[in-house]
């Protein structure tokens, strides 16, 4: 069943036409990845879904309900949360406070406590650093915190923006192991990545975005072997 549907979404930055009619759907329990180069509109797509940018045209439906017209803080309440590009943790708050901020829209104390334990189960490192300020942690730890914080919203759809960015290979592997684990736990994920090979490796399906338009879509396995993707994003020709 389709949980998130974007239909012909157009988003503008001032006069710049950033998304030119994007149509994406994400099914329950699926990992869908959005790949493409810098400036293709991947982050813009996530920000539009989140309600931080308003589409000028098109519809965004979460479980059949239109969410493109409601403010960002309401979108979180409806069940969309994200681990943003660049992590954006709250530097002068502790790990625990950061995680609590992730559950800002929730009021079920027991549910929040249970989810915090779940996050600590996924990221034992965060539990060790529970009272450390986020700004003093390493990039990898901050990435874990950003993901944990997004999970604290108990989202119906989790948006992950460039979780591998700027991390050492060993940490990238760790983060992607967690993404696989989340997949096993039936979390629905929309994953944005520049590292197409890694992203297609964990995803069920994928979309290829180029200058604001979807140019290719299909099963992740098929995209991995498609000549266009190989040439443009998997670095099998040239760089």
């Amino acid at each position: 069943m389709s949980i998130l549907e974007l239909n012909n979404v157009h988003t503008f930055y001032g006069n710049i036409h950033a998304l030119k009619g994007i149509t994406i759907n994400v099914n329950e329990g699926e990992i869908v990845t959005l790949i493409g180069s810098n400036g293709a509109g991947k982050t813009t797509t996530l920000r539009t879904i989140q309600g931080l940018l308003k589409p000028r045209e098109g519809s965004i439906k979460l479980k059949g309900e239109e969410i493109s017209k409601i403010p960002a803080h309401e979108v979180v309440k409806r069940g969309v949360s994200q681990s943003p590009e660049g992590r954006l943790t709250f530097p002068r708050m502790t790990v625990k406070e950061n995680l609590e901020m992730g559950a800002f829209q929730r009021s079920d104390k027991e549910g929040i406590a249970a989810d915090m334990e779940k996050v600590f189960g996924l990221f034992p490192r965060l539990k060790e650093r529970i009272s450390q300020r986020a700004g003093t942690m390493s990039g990898g730890e901050q990435q874990m915190l950003a993901m944990g914080r997004a999970l604290m919203a108990n989202p119906k759809v989790l948006l992950l923006d460039e979780p591998s960015m700027g991390l050492a290979p060993i940490l990238v592997d760790l983060i992607f192991d967690i993404i696989r684990e989340l997949h096993r736990q039936k979390t629905t994920i929309l994953l944005v990545e520049q590292n197409a090979r890694l992203a297609l490796g964990v995803a069920d399906r994928g979309y290829v975005l180029e200058t604001g338009e979807i140019v290719l879509k299909g099963d992740a396995k098929d995209l991995l072997t498609s000549p266009e993707v190989k040439a443009a994003y998997l670095g099998e020709r040239g760089h």
Binding site: L52, S81, T89, R92, M101, G102, F104, R149, A150
Partner: protein, 387 residues
């Protein structure tokens, strides 16, 4: 870069020389020219030895002034911490607050020149509500639409709002009639409280003292001088107590409540805060409302303490508070309090022992020196706790 510079071994001979020489040169110049501005160490030390009670008295005065400055400075610094905007209308909001406090206290006073303490305490309610609302409206209708423009645009708009509010204050200044319900006479008589001239200073009723007589005798002082009495007024106690309550309440609010945590989140990263489901616009507005309410509280404190107000009062008091915020490190609540204590004490000591005409000059000389040697302010740094 900064780390490298602070290691003496990395500095050239000239840099090391300059580093030691500059402070010595400044101290020398201050002592040399300071005499022209009343800084005569010999005389000051003699005066203190002759009558040590005066310095204690001035410290109390300084702390009371610091209390008022702290509360206003926190309004500046909170807003700066969350939107990096200096709210230039803040001082006028404070000035409006003094009028609301004056009106409230005058209504209760009914022409009397002394009111019981509870009247002054009651005045906090309308003053804080009015100033909170006014500052909230300024945010909503002046600053919000400018938040994405260049910072200078919001700054100029704030200055414009400040002038506008000052002129409204001037207008309020000549309204000045409150109904005086005279139970013995027939009907209602009107009482003029604000004076005929709109710009002239208006007097507050005084707050009743706890103790009759010239002051509180403190036995310890009798050891030094039999005639010494230390005067601690009801206004001193009220002003300092209010400031302490306000500082602790605000700190508690920011650390423990849902809205307070949301304020910290917006201050640290507005984009991420929005992604957490925080209504950023509402939180920014709330920050202005709280800052305004603090200005309202400071207005009552100011009226009770100084006994007078006028439509001009915002600029001087506002400037002192803004300076305190910058001195302590703008955006930092504890810094605002520290800066205020510094300015309050320096002013009262200078008024008594140096030269009251030069007090402002001494305050700003200190500010300039702090800005030269520590541009982020006393407590300001990247790691400092904001709002």
């Amino acid at each position: 870069m900064e780390k490298a510079l602070s290691k003496p071994s990395d500095l050239s001979f000239f840099q090391r020389f300059r580093r030691i020489f500059t402070p010595i040169a400044i101290v020398y110049l201050v002592l040399l020219f300071g005499q022209q501005a009343g800084l005569e160490p010999g005389r000051i030390i003699r005066e203190i030895i002759d009558n040590p009670v005066i310095i204690i008295q001035q410290v109390i005065t300084g702390l009371a002034n610091a209390a008022i400055i702290t509360i206003i400075a926190m309004g500046y610094t909170m807003v700066y911490g969350i939107v990096e905007n200096i709210n230039f209308a803040h001082s006028s909001v404070f000035m409006h607050g003094t009028f609301v406090a004056l009106l409230t206290m005058s209504i209760f006073a009914q022409g009397a020149t002394v009111v019981p303490l509870w009247v002054a305490l009651f005045a906090f309610i309308p003053a804080m509500l009015y100033c909170g609302l006014l500052n909230g409206l300024v945010e909503r209708y002046v600053y919000r639409s400018l938040r994405k423009s260049a910072r200078i645009v919001a700054l100029i708009a704030g200055l414009g709002t400040d002038f506008m509010l000052q002129n409204i204050g001037l207008k309020i200044g000549d309204l000045g009639l409150i109904p005086n319900i005279d139970r013995t006479a027939t009907g209602v008589k009107f009482l003029r409280i604000l004076g005929l001239q709109s710009a002239s200073p208006k007097s507050f009723p005084a707050v009743q003292e706890f103790f009759a007589g010239p002051g509180v005798p403190i036995n310890l002082l009798e050891l030094i001088d039999k005639n010494a009495t230390l005067r601690i007024t009801a206004a001193d106690v009220m002003v300092i107590a209010t400031a302490l309550i306000a500082v602790f309440t605000l700190n508690w609010f920011v650390r423990n409540t849902r809205s307070g945590k949301a304020m910290r989140a917006v201050a640290q990263n507005p984009a991420a805060a929005a992604m957490m489901g925080i209504d950023v616009d509402r939180i920014i507005n709330l920050t202005y409302i709280i800052g305004g309410a603090l200005a309202g509280a400071a207005a009552v404190m100011f009226g009770v303490y100084n006994g007078t107000t006028s439509s001009q009062i915002g600029s001087t008091t506002g400037l002192n508070s803004f300076t305190a915020a910058v001195l302590g490190g703008v955006g930092n609540l504890q810094g605002a309090a520290l800066g205020a204590i510094f300015i309050g004490l320096l002013s009262s000591i200078s008024d008594q022992f140096i030269s009251s005409r030069w007090t402002t000059a001494w305050v700003f000389l200190t500010l300039v020196l702090v800005m030269i040697f520590k541009p982020t302010g006393l407590l300001g740094s990247e790691g400092g706790e904001k709002a």
